[in-house]
Amino acid sequence: MVNYFELYALPVSFHPHTANVKFKFYELSRTWHPDRFAQADDATRAEALRMAALNNDAYKTLSNPDALMAYILRLYGMLEEEEKYNLPPDFLMEMMELNELISEYELDPANEEARSEATEAIESEFREWDLEVAPLTQRFNEGEHTPELLSEIKDYYFRRKYLLRIQERIATFATPK
């Protein structure tokens, strides 16, 4: 089966060109539109449906950076389904402390100090993540498709899961400012 990058005739990259992705999505949406196959035989109609679904999945993945990171890692056999990946204890400790900080905010959402402390802590974690990952994904985009580089990226992929989880947690009780 073709992968999403092959389908869209794009180079494998963590940052595919947004305009090109959209262009290909619309082009393939037209090509495989069910209306064009209304008179076709069953097998051709089924194939058109399959391609339309594949195109939708490709677009969703290529336009979502988190989903795309997982997809590329899987494409290179670096990620298993429900993989149990161990991050170092100091990172888990940091996530524990960050969660505790969020708890203080959760207990008293009207407290401006607790709010800014918690949100600044998580925002700074995300900024740090971006800064550290950018040079790695850039090396990959420029053609360095090595397992060593991908396993470094994989580590960050899992770290981000914890940050996203905390962000999600804040969203359950915080009212947008």
């Binding site: 149990k84 204890p89 888990l92 996530m95 989880r165």
Partner: protein, 138 residues
């Protein structure tokens, strides 16, 4: 998905939430995380040096209801057991007690991992060899 009454009870009234003094030699601390969902769990045991029994257990979990319930139940079970008995606690016992659905089994695995990590920390502090643990998929 509906949680079982037992999960809801542990979630609403978690037992043994808190912290033990991790600098003490008879306290073992396990810190584990579930990478797929981003849950973090800390579980601690305090061993009575005379009797060898676990006299206290505490946890703090940031995660879903099942993860909180699994660790709450684990601390309840740990108290009064020897370290070797504690080692025998299997995640499937937790699944059964809490009626966890298949999609939440990984929460019980996380609790089992936390118990074993706490025991290992205790063992290392007391000059015992670290145990190699079988890796269960989350």
């Amino acid at each position: 998905m509906a949680y079982s009454d037992k999960v809801i009870d542990h979630y609403q009234n978690p037992k043994n939430v808190g912290t033990l003094d991790k600098s003490k030699n008879n306290v073992g601390t396990g810190l584990v995380g579930a990478p797929e969902c981003g849950d973090v769990m800390r579980l601690q045991i305090e061993v009575d040096e005379e009797s060898g029994l676990i006299k206290d257990a505490k946890f703090k979990t940031f995660g879903c209801g099942s993860a909180i319930a699994s660790s709450s139940l684990a601390t309840e079970w740990l108290k009064g057991k020897t370290v070797d008995q504690a080692l025998a606690i299997d995640n499937m016992d937790i699944v059964e007690e809490l009626n966890l659905p298949p999609v939440k089994i990984h929460c019980s695995v996380l609790a089992e991992d936390a118990i074993k990590a706490a025991i290992n920390d205790y063992r290392v502090k007391n000059g015992l060899p670290e145990l190699t643990l079988e890796q269960k998929p989350h």
